[in-house]
């Protein structure tokens, strides 16, 4: 994407000069005005990186098919997620994307990618990768599906190729609180318990969103536990880089996460859309430069450590707040 539109659409997440974890949930689809433009008006953001991101996902998935995980009992939820998202895409871009019902079959047409598919709901073999694998080839978001039972939410399926330091292969089948086991503070502070109570009560069709952020070395979307050999070198380089070299290498990594209670299956659809902005570009916006600098300078060590930004935190603060 060209730097101007990247900046204009970037979901800058920091609302104050200090940052702590909170149950930061808000209604979806409400646009947010920023210093540079706007984000958040849609559920599924299709941008200029669409084809490139999907090609990257395809490459990762081919090398490591375990990025797609589906426990058998959530198959209906996978179909529900697929149809819900395809309908959503079609409503958003009717000129290029359409889902039609033709003689008991569904026909999906995606002119952005040059893809056509015909299938019957429930026929997993009709789509490459099954319903969830196919959905992952049409939207840029990573996908997790949570089943609700026994008064809890369970991460029972997903397609995650752009994770930040975790692995779906490891987390699949876990409860919401277990998934968050490694996160500091959120358990003691009640942040997570409140979030879960809220999510358990979401009614069919309700949609919310939240943001999460971190710093990452290198511009790749895949920062998963599995791919650490690939990004370890950039990380090592960032630990000693300064000034312009650091600002080109280190990125603010923002996840816009959507939480959607699906209708027919009742499952919770969790979508994670990742955006990257090098500090050098971010610094062109003085308000962002100052705010990120101040947040990083004040961030408690446990949160900084968990986010994996300790090795280059001081250098980033120096770059952002220095003269």
């Amino acid at each position: 994407m060209n730097p101007e539109s990247r900046l204009a659409r970037f979901p800058f997440p920091l609302r104050a000069d200090t940052y702590r974890y909170s149950t930061n949930i808000e209604p979806a689809r409400v646009p947010v005005r920023t210093e540079t433009g706007e984000w958040g008006g849609v559920l599924l953001d299709v941008d200029d990186d669409y084809a490139a991101d999907l090609a990257e996902r395809k490459r990762i998935l081919k090398a490591d098919p375990g990025r797609l995980q589906v426990l058998p009992h959530v198959r209906p939820a996978c179909w529900d997620a697929l149809l819900t998202c395809l309908r959503e895409l079609a409503a958003q871009r009717p000129d290029e994307l359409s889902l039609r019902c033709e003689g008991g079959e569904l026909a999906w047409r995606n002119d952005l990618l040059g893809v056509c598919a015909r299938f019957r709901e429930g026929d997993d073999d009709a789509l490459p990768g099954g319903p969830l694998g196919f959905l992952g080839s049409q939207i840029q978001d990573d996908i997790v599906l949570l089943d609700q039972r026994e008064g809890a939410l369970w991460a029972d399926a997903g397609l995650v190729t752009f994770a930040s330091g975790w692995s779906l292969r490891f987390d699949v089948g876990m409860r919401f609180d277990e998934v968050h086991g490694p996160v500091p503070r959120v358990h003691e502070d009640g942040v997570l318990a409140r979030a879960e109570r809220f999510l358990l009560r979401l009614r069919p069709g309700q949609e919310y969103r939240r943001t999460n952020w971190s710093l990452a070395a290198g511009g790749r979307l895949d920062h998963s536990a599995e791919s650490s050999p690939e990004w370890a070198a950039d990380r090592a380089r960032a630990a000693t880089a300064r000034g312009r070299e650091l600002a080109a290498l280190v990125h603010l990594r923002v996840e816009v996460q959507h939480l959607v209670r699906l209708g027919a299956s009742g499952a919770l659809l969790f979508l994670i859309r990742t955006y990257l902005l090098p500090l050098a570009e971010l610094a062109r916006v003085p308000a962002w430069r100052l705010r990120l600098g101040r947040v990083l300078a004040e961030l408690p060590d446990d949160i900084a450590g968990y986010k994996g930004l300790t090795p280059f935190r001081d250098a980033a603060v120096e770059y952002l707040l220095g003269s």
Partner: protein, 311 residues
């Protein structure tokens, strides 16, 4: 209640005393999808009653409910029995507290009388996704509502009777026969629900595998009106029943930051100087609640006629 304004498209007595109402949007457009076991809260004249949806929940264009006339009841059912095609009807968006547990190895459904309604949706969903399901249905001799539909959907997997002794026998048998990992779902008159859950307990069923349809309380009550007194600006803002304090403040031009508007994020927190808040949020802990020195205006209200806040 932010309701769906629908019209009755069909109204028919399916068995004596049970009327099926089919509802649609006035323009025939799509309705919110919902899982099996969902219900809507219908505004029936002065009353609000919960009714299970019997239709399939994927991309519905019609909602179907079945209403048992309760002669001694509070009047909602009699009012609904008078609805005819073309009449308007307001219902809530669907909610669900009785969905199938998808990890179950088998689903044993037990219904009595009008309690068949949520089971009809369960059966449709189970058949559609090829889940192992079995239904035991007790009904009055003259009122086997939906028996023909169920026969067609389930065949051998449906057992029904209007004889109490036979029902007890079939129930005891069904509860003993199930493989480990079966989940039991019950809906019907209170005595039947009790009989089924007691029998299950005696047969060693763990409570987590026994599900009863109990309709959840209709939407948070609108609350009573009160006045918000703003200490700093010296203004009084009236908060009507059904309006949140946050909305009343915004309407009066008072800026209060907010995010979730659901009482979970804490963003809208406002200090309280006098009066007693009525906490309805998930955010404050027990101490903060008891102290009453702050309030989350997106959901909470006032116990006292006036609530003075630091704004």
């Amino acid at each position: 209640m932010t309701g769906l304004e629908l019209v009755v498209t069909r109204s028919a007595e399916v068995v004596p005393g049970v009327r099926e109402l089919v509802l649609a949007r006035p323009d025939g457009g799509p309705l919110p999808a919902h899982p099996a076991g969902s219900h809507v809260v219908a505004e029936c004249g002065e009353r609000r009653n919960a009714y299970s949806l019997t239709n399939g929940g994927a991309e519905p264009r019609e909602y179907a409910v079945a209403v048992l006339r309760r002669p001694g009841g509070r009047g909602g059912s009699a009012w609904l029995h008078e609805r005819r095609p073309g009449d308007p009807l307001v219902v809530s968006a669907p909610r669900c507290a009785f969905a199938p547990v998808l990890t179950a190895r088998r689903h044993l459904l037990v219904a009595g009388g009008i309690g068949i309604t949520p089971m009809l949706a369960h059966v449709r969903d189970a058949v559609r996704w090829n889940r192992d399901v079995e239904l035991l249905y007790a009904h009055r001799p003259d009122a086997p509502a939906y028996a023909a539909d169920l026969d067609r959907l389930l065949g051998e997997r449906l057992r029904r009777t209007s004889d109490r002794r036979e029902f007890r026998g079939l129930l005891g048998d069904a509860l003993r026969r199930q493989p480990l990992g079966t989940h039991l779902y019950v809906c019907g008159p209170a005595p039947l629900m009790e009989l089924v859950t007691d029998t299950a307990e005696a047969a060693g069923w763990p409570a987590q595998r026994v599900h009863r349809e109990r309709f959840t309380a209709a939407e948070v009550a609108p609350g009573t009106p009160f006045t918000a007194r703003l200490r700093r600006s010296g203004r009084d803002v009236a908060v009507a029943a059904g309006t949140t304090l946050l909305d009343a403040l915004h309407a009066a031009g008072v800026a209060v930051p907010s995010m979730c508007r659901q009482g979970v994020c804490g963003e809208c927190r406002v200090p309280v100087l006098a009066g007693q808040p009525q906490h309805r949020d998930e955010y404050l802990d027990e101490h903060e609640r008891a102290a009453g020195t702050c309030v989350l205006p997106c959901v909470s209200r006032s116990e006292t006629g006036v609530l003075e806040v630091d704004l």
